[in-house]
C-alpha cells in the first residue's frame, strides 16, 4: 500500500453476506440492528465430545435460484457461502456474469479462508474410517484446500483475471481486501470480488477448545466476565471498483475503501503482544494509507473476540492510536452476534462497517446481566442493546488481529457524493 502508486479512489459498489443471521445482507443488517445474537446450540455435528456446545451456524433458506443450479450440490458449504455472497454483491453492484477478461472489464478475486472445505473432508474420513466407503465421497476430500472458495467464485462467475487466496488465520479476510484495494488502485483490475468464506468444522472447534479460547456461553467482548470467543461461519464479498467506473454507469457507491494496513507482532504463535503495539501499527498504517488522522475516525468495528487476552491487547492498541479518545470513540464488536468467522471475519466485519456507515448508525451488542457494562480495565465505549445513531459519521476503522500476531486494519469512508 504504497502512497506513490495510489492513483484511483476505490468504491464499494456491492456487498453480499451469509452468516448466522441468515443468507443475505438484509437478514444480517436486521439482526445486527436488533443486537440479536446468532450463537446457538450446534446442529451441524455431534458436539457432545467437545468442551463447549454453541456456534452461530448459517441459518435460513439458501437462494432458490442458486440451489437449482446442478453445480450447487457439488459445492462444499464454504463454497456455497462464497458463491451466494458473491452473487448478492454482484447483483447489488449491477454487474452481470460472466466476468471474463474482456478489454473493458478485467476482474479478479481476492479471498480469505482458514479451513476451506474442512468440514466435508472430516465427513469423508469419518465415513471412510468407519468402513462406510460407499458414503465417503472423494469430492468431500477434494474441496479441503483453502483456495477452493475463491476458486469456486471464479468458476461460477467466469472470472479469468487474477484469483488469489490469503490464509493468515483470522486476518485473512481483511488482508484479502487490502490486496484487492491495491490491485484496483494500481489498475491491475477494474473489478475485484474481495472477501472470505469459512464453514464450521470440528478441527477448529476442537483446536480452539483445546486452547481454552472458547466461552461456554455466547462470547462477551470487552466485558469483565468474558471467557473466550464463539464460533461463527459464513462468507462476505465486497465488489471493489474505481469510483469513476461506478459513477460512469450511474451506480451509487455504498462506501469508499479508503485505506488498508497490516503489521505483525512477531511475538507468539497464538497470543497477542499485550502492549498492542502491532495492532496499533496496523491501524496507523491503514490511517496513513487513507490519508486520515485518528481524530477523523468516527467509530471502530473492533476485532473483539471476547478472549481475555485479545480484548486487553486491543484496548492498549486503541489507546495508542486514539489517545484520550480511546474510551469515547463509539465501538462495536460484531462477533458478539455472529461469532468468529475466522478467515472471513475481516470480510464480514468490513461489510458490517459499510452498512453502519451507510445507515448512519452503529449496531449494538447485547448487554450482560449483572456486573459493569464493560470491563473497568478496558473502558471502551461499547454500544449496548440499541443501535447508536451516527448520522454524521464519515469514516470508520475495522480491525482484525489474528493468531501469529497478524494484524490488519481497514478504513472505510462514507460516500458523500464527491
Amino acid at each position: 500500500m504504497n502512497h506513490e502508486t495510489v492513483s484511483r479512489r476505490v468504491a464499494v459498489s456491492g456487498v453480499g453476506a451469509v452468516s448466522g443471521l441468515g443468507w443475505g445482507v438484509a437478514p444480517l443488517w436486521e439482526g445486527l440492528r436488533a443486537g440479536r445474537t446468532a450463537i446457538r446450540p450446534i446442529q451441524r455435528f455431534d458436539h457432545t465430545a467437545h468442551r463447549t456446545h454453541l456456534a452461530a451456524e448459517a441459518a435460513g433458506p439458501e437462494d432458490a435460484g442458486l440451489a437449482a443450479d446442478p453445480r450447487w450440490e457439488r459445492l462444499s458449504l464454504a463454497d456455497r457461502f462464497a458463491v451466494a455472497a458473491a452473487a448478492e454483491a454482484l447483483a447489488m453492484a449491477g454487474l452481470a456474469p460472466p466476468l471474463a477478461s474482456l478489454d473493458d472489464l478485467w476482474a479478479g478475486v481476492w479471498f480469505g479462508s482458514s479451513t476451506g472445505g474442512m468440514f466435508e473432508s472430516e465427513r469423508f474420513f469419518n465415513e471412510f474410517l468407519h468402513g462406510r466407503w460407499r458414503s465417503a465421497r472423494l469430492r468431500d476430500l477434494a474441496t479441503q484446500q483453502v483456495n477452493v472458495p475463491g476458486d469456486a467464485v471464479a468458476r461460477w462467475f467466469g472470472v479469468t483475471g487474477p484469483v488469489r487466496t490469503v490464509s493468515s488465520a483470522c486476518s485473512s479476510g481483511a488482508l484479502a481486501l487490502g490486496a484487492a484495494l491495491d490491485a484496483v488502485r494500481s489498475g491491475e483490475v477494474d473489478v475485484a470480488l474481495a472477501g472470505g468464506s469459512d464453514s464450521l468444522c470440528q478441527l477448529t472447534y476442537a483446536g480452539f477448545n483445546a486452547l481454552r479460547s472458547v466461552d461456554e456461553g455466547p462470547c462477551r467482548p470487552f466485558r469483565a466476565c468474558r471467557e473466550g470467543m464463539s464460533f461463527g461461519e459464513g462468507a462476505a464479498v465486497l465488489v471493489l471498483e474505481p469510483l469513476e467506473r461506478v459513477q460512469e454507469r450511474g451506480g451509487e457507491p455504498l462506501a469508499v475503501l479508503a485505506g488498508a494496513g497490516s503489521a505483525c507482532d512477531a511475538h507468539h504463535m497464538t497470543a497477542p503482544d499485550p502492549s498492542g503495539a502491532g495492532a496499533a501499527a496496523a491501524m496507523e498504517a491503514a490511517l496513513r494509507d487513507a490519508g486520515l488522522s485518528a481524530a477523523q475516525i468516527d467509530f471502530v468495528n473492533a476485532h473483539g473476540t471476547g478472549t481475555p487476552l485479545n480484548d486487553a491487547a486491543e484496548w492498549r492498541a486503541l489507546q495508542r492510536v486514539f489517545g484520550e479518545r480511546a474510551g469515547e470513540i463509539p465501538l462495536t464488536a460484531t462477533k458478539a452476534l455472529l461469532g468468529h468467522l475466522l478467515g472471513s471475519s475481516g470480510a464480514i466485519e468490513a461489510v458490517t462497517t459499510v452498512l453502519c456507515l451507510r445507515h448512519g448508525e452503529l449496531h449494538p451488542v447485547p448487554a450482560c446481566a449483572g456486573g459493569p457494562a464493560v470491563d473497568p480495565e478496558l473502558p471502551v465505549a461499547l454500544v449496548l442493546d440499541r443501535p447508536l445513531p451516527l448520522p454524521d459519521a464519515r469514516a470508520a476503522i475495522s480491525t482484525s488481529l489474528a493468531f501469529g500476531g497478524s494484524n490488519a486494519a481497514l478504513v472505510f469512508s462514507r460516500w458523500m457524493g464527491t
Binding site: P70, E73, R74, W133, R134, R137, L138, R139, A142
Partner: protein, 86 residues
C-alpha cells in the same frame, strides 16, 4: 430366490448412490446416454468416485486413462467391459 440384478442395473444404482445424484433414479439413466459432458453432466471428480466404486463392486481394474475414457462413455460400454472381465 430372486435372480441377481443385471450388470447395467447394478451400474446405474452405483452411479446414483455413489455420486449422490439428488432427484435421480437408476431407471432414469439410459444405457446409451453419455455419462460425462452433455449426458449426465458428470465431471472428473465424479469419474474418480465412480472408478473407485466400480472397482470395489465388481473387482475390476481400470489401468489407464485411455481405457477409462473408452469404458466410461456410457452404461452399455461399462457393462460390456465388466462382463468380459468378471
Amino acid at each position: 430366490m430372486s435372480e441377481a440384478p443385471a450388470v447395467p442395473s447394478r451400474i446405474k444404482r452405483l452411479i446414483v448412490e455413489s455420486l449422490h445424484l439428488e432427484g435421480m433414479k437408476p431407471e432414469m439413466i439410459e444405457d446409451e446416454a453419455p455419462l460425462f459432458g452433455e449426458g449426465l453432466g458428470l465431471d472428473s471428480v465424479d469419474a474418480l468416485e465412480l472408478v473407485v466404486a466400480l472397482e470395489k463392486e465388481f473387482g475390476i481394474k481400470i489401468k489407464s486413462q485411455e481405457l477409462g475414457r473408452e469404458v466410461f462413455s456410457s452404461v452399455s460400454t461399462l457393462s460390456e467391459f465388466i462382463e468380459t472381465r468378471t
